[in-house]
């Protein structure tokens, strides 16, 4: 089993754990952490792809590495926006939960 295969499996496990957490956890902060876990899994897959594409004396294919940096920045901005929304929500309502207190359609 090569290194890239091992890392590929690790990435799959991360994505699975993250997705499970995102669906199962009711608290928004935990959902956000789970989203980041899933994101890290996806980024690891990208890194594995970069490594597999090593050619012409380079340690890896540079294109996925450039994509990776961009994707990490975007995911970071997304997390920051979500945290800002959560802070505002807890300032307004005194709690940070997604369960609505009122019935649908009223």
């Amino acid at each position: 089993m090569t290194t890239t295969t091992i890392f590929g499996f690790c990435a799959a496990v991360l994505v699975g754990l993250g997705l499970y957490g995102l669906i199962v956890n009711p608290q928004p902060l935990r959902k956000l952490l789970a989203f980041n876990l899933m994101g890290n899994g996806v980024f690891l897959i990208c890194a594995v792809i970069a490594r597999r594409g090593a050619a012409a004396g380079m340690g890896g294919d540079p294109v996925p590495q450039a994509l990776l940096i961009t994707a990490i920045v975007v995911a970071f901005a997304a997390s920051a926006l979500a945290v800002a929304l959560m802070l505002r929500l807890s300032e307004e309502t005194g709690a940070c939960s997604l369960s609505s207190t009122r019935g649908e359609g009223d």
Partner: protein
């Protein structure tokens, strides 16, 4: 590893595409720098220039009758990034420009900085986010590269989520957060699919991918991941749970943007992928699934809309239902392509459905906003008197509703006609049933609202607030765009079909 050099060369005059994308973002930056009430002025200047740019792009598309292609920085794919505008993209850019301009006219009353204040958070954010939504949508329409599309999708989400919670109440913040989490999960799925495609084919360019793609398990996995992610962002049933609170809770102008335009961005991407990138995997059997979700959305969304007590929630659930129509075209296109028949009319029908829904739904949300301002509430049971107070607005609401139902000569009529003909030609009667049942249910709730608002007002009733005439005219103009869109079939050329790739020989 790298594919051979592309055969697609940049075309002259295509640099306008970069202007269409960059202009709104420059507007955002200038608005942010100048601050305060200048944000609205900057937004207006940008909108005027942006509309002119989009018109120039359509002119050059019509004169060359071929897709416009621009290579950023002169770098050709696979390493460089290509911007590409075919008939589909230009139609979408046109309708977005029209809706953005109408929403801006409408929002001038609701979102002008109050006199005496140097800066108010609501208006300041609204004008900048309006431009950001526009820029990201334009990027989605012209982008020729699946990773740039990911970035554009995320930009659209970042501009859309704050629009939901502009008024800062707890429940709208909750709705915005739920929307954001759905959208983020969706974009991760999309990104995973994009990386898998790069891992196998070594390119991200749509045209190059289309020429190399093969039917194999990894392609199916990537297609499934990307589609699932985009469906969560488009709010197709059963991933629609975030939409009604988000679209019904936002201020009227923001709801019009979100419901009319923002969800169309991710839908457009599904269309792009299924028509241009994955023609080999978009088999009729796979497309049946997509349309099955669409048909369930039509039936369930309409039934739930009928049970709503508040006008804005009714319109939001009607959006859930109308999204379903947008996905009925996929099995029709797949079946027509499989039997080597022309799928062009069905694609045109799907696009007309998007255009008529974008204009009609924006008009309906803005009309609901005016009714709310006049009555002080939007309970459907107590709408009486609103037609007397706001004749123009209620007429616009009903015209927009007629377009959703599909009465001639509206855009919805032509769209449903083309889709129904496609369903007949490919003997897929079950989708015809869903379309016709959906039309009936839609007419039921439009009729309920019309009857309630035509009832006379109780004696001694006065309007809570007078709304400006130009707001009513903005609503009417959009409703007319949707209602008279049916005359687009009289145009001498089918703009949608210009420069379409991916159609099998």
């Amino acid at each position: 590893m790298l594919p051979t050099a592309p055969t697609i060369m940049p075309t002259a005059g295509a640099s306008l595409l970069t202007v269409a994308v960059l202009l709104p973002f420059f507007g955002v930056l200038f608005g942010l720098l100048l601050g305060g009430r200048n944000a609205e002025r900057v937004a207006w200047a940008t909108i005027v220039l942006g509309v002119v740019t989009v018109l120039a792009i359509s002119r050059s598309l019509l004169s060359t009758r071929a897709a416009l292609i621009y290579h950023l920085g002169g770098w050709a794919p696979p390493l460089g990034i290509a911007l590409r505008a075919d008939g589909l993209s230009v139609c979408m850019m046109l309708v977005v420009a029209v809706v953005v301009a109408a929403v801006a006219v409408y929002a001038h009353a609701d979102f002008s900085t109050p006199a005496g204040a140097r800066e108010a958070r609501g208006p300041f954010s609204f004008w900048l986010l309006l431009l950001a939504v526009w820029g990201s949508l334009n990027l989605i329409f012209v982008s020729g590269d699946i990773f740039t599309l990911y970035v554009a999708l995320e930009l659209l989400t970042f501009a859309g989520a704050p629009l939901v919670s502009l008024d800062g109440r707890g429940e709208t913040l909750q709705a915005a957060l739920r929307y954001l989490l759905f959208a983020l999960a969706g974009s991760m799925f999309y990104l995973l699919g994009a990386f898998l495609l790069y891992g196998v084919y070594g390119t991200l360019d749509i045209a190059l991918l289309a020429s190399q793609i093969k039917a194999q398990p990894v392609t199916w996995a990537a297609a499934a991941l990307m589609t699932a992610g985009l469906l969560a962002k488009t709010a197709l049933f059963p991933l629609h749970l975030w939409l009604p609170p988000a679209h019904a809770g936002a201020p009227a102008a923001a709801s019009a943007l979100l419901s009319g335009l923002v969800i169309k961005g991710s839908w457009f991407l599904v269309l792009r992928l299924w028509l241009d990138v994955f023609p080999v995997t978009a088999t009729p059997a796979a497309a049946q699934w997509l349309a099955a979700f669409g048909a369930s959305a039509i039936i369930i969304g309409n039934c739930v809309a009928l049970r709503q007590a508040r006008l804005k929630l009714l319109i939001a659930y009607s959006t859930v239902a109308q999204i379903g129509y947008l996905f009925l075209m996929f099995p029709l296109v797949a079946a027509l392509d499989a039997s080597r028949l022309a799928s062009g009319p069905v694609v045109t029908g799907g696009l007309l459905q998007v255009v008529s829904h974008a204009t009609a739904k924006a008009a309906m949300f803005m009309a609901a906003g005016l009714i709310y301002a006049t009555l002080g509430h939007d309970r459907i049971a107590d709408l009486r008197g609103s037609a007397r107070a706001l004749p123009l607005t209620v007429t616009a609401f009903v015209l927009a509703g007629a377009s959703l139902v599909g009465l001639p000569p509206s855009g919805g009529f032509v769209a449903k006609w083309l889709l129904l003909s496609g369903a007949t030609a490919t003997a897929q009667w079950w989708w015809m049933l869903a379309m016709l049942a959906g039309g009936l249910l839609t007419s039921a709730y439009v009729f309920i609202v019309m009857v309630r608002s035509l009832a006379p007002a109780p004696a001694g009733w006065t309007a809570k607030r007078r709304v400006s005439a130009y707001q009513q005219w903005a609503v009417m103009a959009l409703a007319q765009c949707s209602f008279l869109l049916g005359f687009a079939v009289l145009l001498p050329i089918d703009i949608v079909q210009i420069g379409r790739t991916g159609a099998p020989p």
